[in-house]
């Protein structure tokens, strides 16, 4: 199992230029909306022709601009799962799954469809139309239809983006199970960090047509390699910083220095701290490292968690006069608000990272 993609394609307002090579089975492609990640999938499937480059999947050349190879979509054997599933509304579940199997003899086709119906728990809805089944069933039908042609690679284009939170969690669980059944490469595109993290062990970060980084999800989320990666993985606190020594950063805007466990190489760059890594402490637990007095500038409440906008050193003059953002539980917030300002925060040097542009 391996694939090699190296393509260029001019899009309306930027160029898609991707080099991606891996032997991993499931890769999540994480990027903002409009960063060209769906276009990448379309190029692999053959729906769109890249301007130049190569696409080689499992040793099979799908596209090679120099050798003038451009396999037809049928010959590529790609399973494509669309955002809205794109089931054929005029066909029953069975007919949908059998659509790609017309070249097979009748009894072989029936055997394959029956096996897929069983595998994806579609037992008794074979004769229903797509509008007559639930969202979860639609997803399973779409997946069964895509893998029916026994593809080498499965491409999932934002499969959960149209769902509400509850259904999304449920379907993600189902998808994790279903993907286990599939032996082949899977490329999964999303703009949602959580989806990428839950579905794939390896994540590629995408930024306006370029691949920022590909790596194991824990590495990417803990120590992003670039400013863009840090932003896309959801780091709320990113601020210009200067190197003082190997393990000490100076943050001029905040008027403080910050200790790190990561060795600082470059002279200047950005310091990052995730909002949930900012800890509120009592003076008694004070360790002295990366501890600051803060005042609250603003607050935004979620149902279970609260975001606090904090200013280091002096009271905030307005709602947007703040330095960093912290995320804590509602209980913690209530306990905190019993006390008087300023509060003490502590930032573990291990959770401070430094990136360059």
């Amino acid at each position: 199992m391996a694939f090699m993609i190296d393509i260029k394609k001019n899009l309306y307002d930027f160029q898609l230029a991707v080099k991606l090579q891996s032997e991993e089975e499931i890769i999540g492609i994480l990027g903002a909306s409009g960063s060209g990640k769906s276009m990448l999938l379309r190029c692999i499937a053959g729906l769109v022709k890249p301007d130049q480059g190569q696409i080689i999947i499992n040793g099979k050349t799908f596209f090679d601009s120099q050798k003038k190879i451009n396999l037809s979509m049928g010959a590529r054997k790609v399973g494509f799962l669309f955002q809205n599933y794109a089931l054929f509304p005029n066909m029953t579940v069975v007919q949908n799954i059998a659509f790609g199997l017309d070249h097979l003899p009748k009894n072989e086709k029936k055997r394959r469809v029956d096996a897929l119906m069983e595998k994806y728990h579609l037992g008794d809805i074979g004769n229903r139309y797509p509008t007559q089944i639930s969202g979860g069933q639609q997803q399973r039908v779409a997946l069964a239809r895509a893998v029916a042609v026994e593809p080498d690679i499965l491409l999932l284009d934002e499969p959960f983006s149209a769902l509400d939170v509850h259904l999304r969690n449920h379907m993600m669980k189902e998808m994790v199970e279903s993907l286990k059944e599939f032996t082949g490469l899977t490329l999964f595109v999303t703009h949602n960090r959580e989806e990428a993290y839950r579905l794939a062990d390896h994540i590629a970060i995408f930024n306006t047509g370029k691949l920022e980084v590909l790596g194991h999800k824990d590495v990417i989320f803990k120590h992003p390699a670039s400013l863009e990666t840090a932003k896309i993985t959801g780091c709320k606190n990113l601020i210009k910083a200067r190197r003082c020594s190997d393990y000490l950063l100076d943050i001029p805007k905040w008027g403080v220095t910050m200790q790190t466990t990561m060795k600082i190489a470059a002279e200047s760059g950005y310091m990052g701290i995730r909002a949930n890594q900012v800890k509120f402490v009592n003076t008694s637990e004070y360790s002295g490292t990366n501890c600051f007095k803060v005042y609250i500038a603003d607050e935004s409440d979620g149902p279970f968690r609260t975001s606090l906008y904090l200013k280091i050193g002096s009271p905030a003059k307005s709602l947007d006069d703040y330095h960093l953002q912290a995320e804590i539980s509602r209980e913690e917030r209530d306990r905190l608000f019993d006390q008087a300002q300023p509060y003490e925060i502590e930032i573990n040097p291990e959770s401070v990272f430094f990136v360059t542009e």
């Binding site: 499937a45 729906l47 979509m73 049928g74 066909m91 659509f99 017309d102 139309y129």
Partner: protein, 227 residues
């Protein structure tokens, strides 16, 4: 003197033939135009739609130039001793030209409404363009196509101006119901005209109503409960 029913048979013959031709022609050309995005699209679309906005007499005049005794097509057919002007074939041609834009425009609208992902899905499953067209695009756009076909039928049945110019009104040969109504009225035979008016009224309404019921039945089948 018995009532001459020949205009009814001629009308039905001409209308069914023309509708069948327009149906396939309109379907295929609408699909090709939906998928064509070149710079000539606006011009080609304009030409194909023109008969809808021009008076039918202009269409009739154009057809006469082409298939008349001295027209290029008329000349060519003359070699084989075939003369289509003032035959029921000419009436079919007139109906086809005048009704085509209705079929083409309505069908293209239906094709453009199809979720492009559905067509992409068919293609990634290895479907040929012919299969994408017949198994996906046409069935998915079926309500629009059915409406277009019903309109085409009604337009062909009601065609008058171009037909009169190229096929004339030869009783028992090219005299269709609309032409019979015109000449009956001109000749003061108001009762004959009224009978034809009622007949054409009945045929048109029947076709449109059958189309509506058939469509809602199909819709129910696919939407079923809940939808």
């Amino acid at each position: 003197m018995g009532f001459d029913f020949s205009p009814a048979w001629i009308s039905i013959k001409v209308t069914l033939t023309a509708t069948a031709i327009v149906f396939f022609l309109g379907l295929v050309i609408a699909w090709l135009m939906t998928n064509y995005n070149g710079r000539w699209k606006g011009l080609i679309d304009g030409i194909l739609t023109l008969p809808l906005v021009l008076p039918p007499t202009v269409a009739g005049f154009g057809i006469l130039l082409l298939i008349g005794k001295n027209g290029p097509i008329g000349n060519f057919l003359e070699i084989f001793g075939v003369n289509i002007i003032f035959s029921w074939y000419a009436a079919v041609i007139a109906a086809v030209v005048v009704a085509f834009p209705l079929m083409y425009k309505t069908t293209m609208g239906a094709f453009e409404q199809i979720d492009p992902n559905i067509l992409s899905a068919a293609r990634t499953l290895g479907a040929s363009e012919v299969k994408v067209f017949w198994r996906v695009a046409v069935p998915v756009a079926r309500p629009g196509i059915a409406a277009a076909t019903a309109l085409t039928f009604a337009r062909c049945l009601g065609e008058f101006g171009a037909t009169l110019m190229v096929a004339g009104s030869i009783p028992g040969k090219t005299e269709t119901i609309p032409i019979a109504i015109y000449f009956a009225t001109q000749g003061g035979e108001m009762q004959v005209a009224l009978i034809w008016v009622l007949i054409i009224f009945a045929i048109s309404l029947t076709v449109l109503v059958i189309n509506n019921y058939w469509e809602s039945r199909k819709k129910k089948q696919q939407r079923g409960f809940g939808g």
